[in-house]
Amino acid sequence: MAEHATHVEGLAHHFVSMEQQKEAGMVGMWIFLLTEIMFFGGLFLAYTIYRTTYPEGFLFGSHLLNVKLGGTNTVVLIVSSLTMAMAVYYSQKGDRKKLLAFLALTLILGLAFLGIKYVEYSTKIHDGLFPAAATWNPPSEGEHAIPVEKQQAVHVFLWIYFLMTGLHAVHMIVGAGILITLIIMAQRGKFTKNYNSPVEISGLYWHFVDIVWIFLFPLLYLTGYHFTPGGH
């Protein structure tokens, strides 16, 4: 490995050229995203079936979510997608300072997203709305009461909510880990004008996670936004 690696910085021994290596990385990431589409796809399928089966329960359940926090998170992710795109751009320009700045910004926004998500989750759990048998204790009286006959359908909505956003949050955490790695690599000057595909490939991942949220936000938060409980 060593004797070949000295020829071109960052070229692994089993590749013929930098172009081949870069193309392999890009194609590999895209195929990985293909698997991610199908991975989330299974949950989107469950959403479609259960939403059509329990339209009222989904209206009611969606109404329980906090659109302000969800909307804020949507904006946070959109901004982070922009900063990620900028990071990729400056890595190609070989501008280390700006690359570092935009990577750090992206990371901060990603962490902000997770922080807001944490607040949302803890409120729901506190309200007895986490759909596991041990914690499920929905209020049947008071301001946020869920009528008993609707509780089962709302339960279905809420496990879909937790499963989909939870899986998304896990991807965000992984993304944050990737960003930290990139920042360390960038700080050590690993990236040059000619070698920056790790940044570009990680960017694809980050944008994908953003796209998942683009669908989750209306499906989960906005579905019951026009709905007033008891108004029907």
């Binding site: 013929v16 194609v27 590999g28 293909l34 698997t35 796809g41 299974g42 759909p131 041990a134 089962q152």
Partner: protein
């Protein structure tokens, strides 16, 4: 001339003697060594699955359930299925032969992501250890299909751990598929256009496509099942508003195409065997290549044929039935083209060819009986009987395993640099063929007569057929054990071979046996169409010159 080659081969550093410590194997990034790591791992699981199969056949010798309790029997057939499918058949040809051969056939130094390749083996091992833990702590009793709500609420066995194990192992399969797709797209040698690729590569491309697109769905499904079971969430539990049929949709969206993960690589092997053992270019190369892709795509459109007896809509059932029939077309194209290739070829009946011929017959039976089951009305009668069991064993053992064994024999001299005993090879291939048919042909009759699958006791009228089946299974066991012995023996005592003992075409035969760590000492350039046997002599001479220069 031949001896010259051998001496030079012997003195060379090859992938086997380049580092002999345990560490050099466990941390290897060499696709050939990783292929061998998989070979040992899956052989181990095959043996365990075989022990479970033995228990099943022993129990079924008598009509009474006298050897195993009903609960034990449930666990035994479930573990047999889970281990054979997820830990032997799915990885078998891709992870062993695919890993070993793909870069060689492409003229590349390695797969695109060697570290990911090693990681996928470790993921497989972690999943495998969890499955062993499941096994030692009592196993699972749900059937390999994990249907809820039994699996999620009522079963008292280790379903959660088994689910996590399959979730993890799935990623091993995904990463292998991803690696292969990228390798085929980006690492072909100069001149190696898509239509010069060996059909083995086409078949692996199609397989990878299924691994990449299908496996994530079963991963999320078993993950949901594990959540349902541990947290009592009720994802598929009708009592809590869930829908068990949705589980079946998601499960079969993967698990029907998974059949093609097992059979497509085997078809790729058979294409190589038939071309090289008849010394003819495969009849209708393009059709065989594209039929692999067609099978991969159509294979995703038929999963509902497993659900004809559920609440699935009759209209959707009709569509699924129709498309299931359509999948027979690309499969038939392959079978007819192989047969046409043999016609007027100079056929040599070496061990690999015997396996290839066995495949042709057994796959035809396995495939055709699948059509019985794809028929809406007939399936109501045959569903969950031994007819189904016999059908999928003809496909999975009669075709997939036979192809795997044929491939192992054919490339054995390339892998080890030694030749096995041809006499024992032929004998055991014939034993396997006879044993297999004796085991599973009676099961078609049993199923047609109404013997349900997954029962440990049955009415006395069925005993004769069950005894025949168990007798066949013991012959099959002998047939599977023999190759282990003579192949192992050949590693030390087998006759040494040169780069191309079969006088075959294909880049993997141009490098020495066993190949050097870097696969080729030069950059191979492809100037010929695939399976052009007129050029083999020419290539051989070029190689000879190359070896003498080195």
């Amino acid at each position: 001339m031949a001896t010259e080659v051998m001496e030079t081969t012997e003195s060379r550093v090859n992938y086997l003697n380049n580092g002999t410590t345990v560490k050099s194997w466990l941390l290897t990034l060499d696709h050939k060594r990783i292929g061998l790591l998989y070979l040992f791992s899956i052989s181990f699981f095959f043996a365990i699955g075989g022990i479970y199969a033995t228990l099943i056949r022993l129990e079924l010798i008598t009509p009474q359930g006298d050897l195993l309790t009903p609960e034990m029997y449930n666990r035994v057939f479930t573990m047999h299925g889970v281990i054979m499918i997820f830990f032997f058949l799915i990885p078998s040809i891709p992870a062993v032969l695919g890993n070993f051969l793909l870069p060689l056939m492409l003229g590349a130094k390695d797969v695109a992501f060697p570290k990911l390749n090693l990681l996928s083996w470790y993921i497989f091992i972690i999943g495998g250890c969890l499955m062993l833990y499941t096994m030692l702590s009592g196993g699972i009793d749900t059937g390999w299909t994990f249907y809820p709500p039994y699996s999620s609420i009522y079963s008292n066995s280790q379903v959660t751990i088994a689910g996590v194990s399959i979730f993890i192992t799935g990623f091993s399969s995904i990463l292998t598929g991803l690696n292969f797709m990228v390798t085929i797209h980006t690492m072909r040698a100069p001149g190696l256009t898509w239509f010069r690729l060996p059909l083995f590569v086409w078949a692996h491309y199609a397989t990878s496509l299924i691994q990449v697109l299908g496996t994530p769905v079963i991963a999320i499904t078993v993950l949901a099942l594990a959540f349902e079971r541990t947290l009592k969430i009720g994802i598929f539990d009708p009592k809590l508003g869930g829908d068990p049929v949705l589980f079946q949709h998601m499960f079969w969206f993967y698990s029907h195409p998974a059949v093609y993960i097992m059979i497509l690589p085997s078809m790729g092997v058979i294409s190589e065997l038939i071309a090289n053992m008849t010394r003819k270019r495969i009849f209708g190369y393009n059709f065989v290549a594209f039929s692999s892709l067609a099978i991969a795509v159509f294979g995703f459109l038929v999963w509902g044929h497993h659900m004809f007896t559920t609440s699935q809509s009759m209209y959707t059932g009709m569509v699924f039935s129709l498309i299931s029939y359509a999948v027979a077309i690309p499969s038939a194209i392959k079978t007819f083209n192989w047969t046409a290739t043999i016609y007027k070829g100079s056929v040599s009946f070496d061990t690999p060819m015997i396996y290839a011929l066995a495949f042709l017959g057994l796959f035809t039976i396995g495939g055709m009986t699948g059509l019985f089951l794809a028929a809406l009305g007939l399936d109501v009668h045959l569903h969950d009987t031994y007819f189904v069991v016999a059908h999928f064993h003809y496909v999975m053992v009669g075709s997939a395993v036979i192809g795997y064994l044929g491939g192992i024999h054919y490339w054995w001299p390339k892998i080890t640099g030694r030749m096995y005993s041809e006499f024992l090879g032929r004998i055991s291939a014939v034993i396997i063929f006879i044993g297999f048919n004796l085991t599973f042909l009676p099961q078609f009759v049993l199923g047609q007569l109404g013997m349900p699958r997954r029962y440990h006791a049955y009415v006395p009228e069925f005993q004769v057929l069950h005894i025949l089946s168990s007798a066949g299974a013991s012959i099959l066991a002998v047939g599977f054990t023999l190759p282990v012995i003579y192949l192992a023996w050949s590693i030390k005592y087998g006759e040494k071979v040169g780069p191309n003992p079969w006088m075959a075409s294909g880049l993997e035969w141009q490098t020495s046996s066993p190949p050097p760590t870097e696969n080729f000492t030069y950059q191979p350039v492809v100037t010929h169409e695939p399976y052009e046997f007129e050029n083999v002599e020419e290539i051989k001479q070029a190689r000879q010159a190359e070896l003498q220069r080195a």
